[in-house]
């Protein structure tokens, strides 16, 4: 099954003319659903409410397929209240033109549950919850679903899941599951307006205040990030379009998944729809102006580096840790600050020194002295004491009291 998302008039027009040309070929078209949202509710749509309704009607009449309302913006309190008021006002239209609602904001989900009575029963039983940000564990996904199991009919999963994980999940969640199959990968979403300041003196003709530009950083090998600014803020997309439909073997293992086709940057032409549906993968990809990626569909290794970043030295600390070396003077001394709580070191104790490079030395405290060079019998927490110089030991070496010396 495929769900197709539309963001502008041209996108729907192209699709409908492709559909008209192909409609006899049921096998080719397969099962489909559509997503439409007005720009007031949907992140990157440029459609007005009237246009949204018009296309919803036309898509339904031409194809007989379901159309879902996209309400995927995030909303701070004031905007949230205003949008909810608007939704209540348009409830009858929503009931008439749509088959379900898609949300990401937790508040929107909660509000729909509280106000379910203003919606048609069949419509409110088709809530698609967008869980594309994070939500990488089964426990969490189950819990989202269980918040409203009779009505959440679908979870939209993160594009960061590899196929193998998607496969695992399809057996464990009792609702429909959707993932991006082809389209632009959203990398960044902010409510701030970041592009318009750059075009401040040039935007007289830009009545909607919408911008579509490309950004490239010298500090990254990736060139030409598509960026959209509109009333909801700024959105940056990956430099390459996601395309996983050529991964036949992996897709065959995901028979229950619904794959979304979602191209907000550059709508598909009639011919491109044709290539896509005919699974002419190479020709389709060659026809697009952006490059293609399989994203994390094959594998996700974003955690490997993360693990390497961890400081393994720290993991060596245990309850025998007493402090750190704070001063080293060759051939003279090593100064140690006792840091642990209520600790003391005495003459005769044995200590283990573990340098930042991992060098280990064992020393029995025969003489210890203060900064004033007065000999001491012991030193306690918060004090610095000195011992004869130990080779290979540097500042920040950790000091442990060995078992041998435990009094």
């Amino acid at each position: 099954m495929r769900i197709i998302s539309f963001h502008e008039n041209e996108a729907v027009e192209n699709f409908l003319s492709f559909y008209q040309q192909t409609k006899k070929d049921h096998h080719l078209l397969g099962n489909q659903e559509y997503i439409l949202g007005p720009r007031a509710l949907s992140r990157v749509s440029s459609l007005s409410w009237e246009e949204t309704k018009k296309w919803a009607k036309e898509l339904k009449e031409s194809t007989g397929n379901k159309v879902f309302l996209q309400w995927d913006i995030l909303m701070t309190q004031s905007n949230f209240k205003a949008v909810c008021a608007q939704i209540s006002q348009y409830a009858s239209d929503i009931n008439e033109y749509f088959d379900g609602i898609r949300v990401q904001d937790t508040g929107a989900l909660f509000w729909l549950k509280e106000h379910k009575d203003i919606f048609r029963e069949e419509l409110i039983q088709e809530i698609h919850l967008i869980c594309e940000n994070g939500n990488h564990n089964l426990e969490g996904l189950k819990s989202w679903y269980n918040f409203w199991p009779e009505n959440i009919s679908r979870l939209v999963l993160s594009a960061e899941f590899p196929a193998q994980k998607l496969n695992e999940l399809q057996g464990q969640l009792s609702c429909q599951l959707e993932v991006l199959g082809a389209g632009n990968i959203l990398l960044f979403y902010t409510p701030r307006h970041l592009i318009s300041p750059l075009y401040e003196n040039e935007n007289e003709n830009n009545k909607l205040g919408e911008y579509k530009v490309f950004g490239t950083s010298e500090e990254s090998p990736h060139k030409g990030f598509p960026i959209i600014e509109n009333g909801h803020g700024t959105f940056m997309f990956n430099t390459k379009e996601l395309y996983i439909f050529s991964e036949k073997e992996k897709l065959d293992e995901l028979p229950h998944f619904i794959f979304r086709i979602d191209f907000p940057i550059e709508s598909l032409t009639c011919e491109q729809w044709n290539l896509l549906f005919r699974k002419e993968h190479e020709s389709f990809q060659n026809s697009r102006s952006m490059g293609h990626t399989k994203g994390f569909f094959r594998t996700n290794k974003t955690d490997v580096l993360f693990k390497k970043l961890k400081n393994h030295r720290l993991q060596d600390r245990d309850h025998h840790y007493v402090g750190d070396v704070v001063d080293v003077k060759k051939k003279e001394h090593v100064g140690i600050l006792i840091k642990g709580k209520n600790l003391a070191l005495r003459k005769g104790d044995e200590i283990r020194l573990l340098s930042p490079e991992g060098r280990e030395k064992f020393v029995t405290l025969k003489t210890i002295w203060s900064a004033d060079k007065e000999n001491r019998e012991s030193a306690k927490t918060g004090q610095i004491f000195f011992i004869p110089h130990v080779g290979g030991i540097s500042v920040r070496t950790m000091v442990f009291k060995t078992e041998v010396s435990s009094h």
């Binding site: 995030l74 909303m75 701070t76 309190q77 949230f80 904001d105 937790t106 508040g107 989900l109 509280e114 940000n133 994070g134 990488h136 564990n137 089964l138 426990e139 996904l141 819990s143 918040f147 990968i185 990398l187 960044f188 979403y189 902010t190 409510p191 701030r192 307006h193 970041l194 592009i195 750059l198 579509k212 490309f214 950004g215 490239t216 950083s217 010298e218 960026i227 940056m236 990956n238 290794k301 974003t302 580096l305 993360f306 970043l309 400081n311 720290l314 600390r317 309850h319 840790y321 704070v326 001063d327 003077k329 100064g335 600050l337 709580k341 900064a371 004033d372 004090q383 610095i384 920040r396």
Partner: protein, 409 residues
Amino acid sequence: MTHWVPELLSPAGSLEKLKVAVSYGADAVYLGGQNFGLRSAADNFTETELKEGVEFAHEHGAQVYVVLNSFLYDKELDDLPDFLKILEEVKVDAVIVSDLGVVETVAKKSALEIHLSTQASCLNSAAAQFWKNKGVTRIVLGREVTIEEAKKIKEEVDIELEMFIHGSMCMAYSGNCVISNYTQGRDSNRGGCAHSCRFEYSISNDNSVEDSQKKFAHFMSSKDLMGLRVLQDFIDAGIDSLKVEGRMKSHHYAGTISKVYSEALQYYKENGNLLSEDLYRWEVELEKVSHRDYHLGNLMAPAGKESIFPERQHAVVETKVAAMVLESIEDKYILAEARGPFQAGDTLEYIFFKGKTHSFQLKEIQDATGETFSKARPGMLVRLPYVREAEALNIVRALPSSLGQREAR
């Protein structure tokens, strides 16, 4: 009569920073364990350090919150209960969580209080109600929420609210940026953010245009948040906790920010207003730590174009950390560890835990045993002049005039 003030919550990137933040007045600190938190490169706490940190904080009347704000995978979720047990044993006061699966696991497997991380982007009252019903006792609101909006959320949902008052800002809705995942192969929501939003970009209408037609800009880099001037608004709105960003930042940062905000809050507590003569001094202090230009972020209104920081580098801060006091040898000298280079003739300044600082010109540099040197290098143990108020964990900084003089020489 004392007046109600919010909690001041400071970052603790390491055990030493925890002690510094608490000693300089933080009412609570947040920190990460070895796993499950977002700051992979911070000196995250081992179990022993965690225990010591919690004991230290509790002895000083401060709370400790542990971040579990990574978006966890199933395998990690399986390992979480063991860590929760440790957290309960060492008596941490709450955990900060962003993932619903983690919320459920913490609620099922422990009696720990759950704070919802800003990573969950909780932005409105309906979302707050959802999380409250899930057992969350405090919500760290998304940074896009204004104080006025937070007040309304608080009126509608009876739950503790926490807001950021100071520090670097993520430009995206928290949890809604995966630039690093796709460009660097590092998961931003698991500690791998490469700060791509701080880069300079060339912007053009068309991907193929010549450089001469492109606009070059740090268009998605945010200025730093600084909410001292609107502290009164936070108090009036009844925001329960004011959070300072920056577990990766220095001791100087942890100490200075904690000191400034705790003094301001203390002043309000005693006087019921913020008309303190020290307001200017506090602002000057905030300028002395490394930062991008300050801005009010979204605190008073949605952040506009003036919230964008147009440069790559941090502001040049001329005040640098010189040393950290380790031990006071009564009536003789102060033993300190040099944390930056300084030399005889430089003007240094003790930052005491409370009140004004004390500056002095360093006549000579002595090492721990009293031998004289011309320069101190980081890591060296030095004797500094004795001042009664100076105590362990006080930060000593080098003042700009001395740095300037030295550069001129």
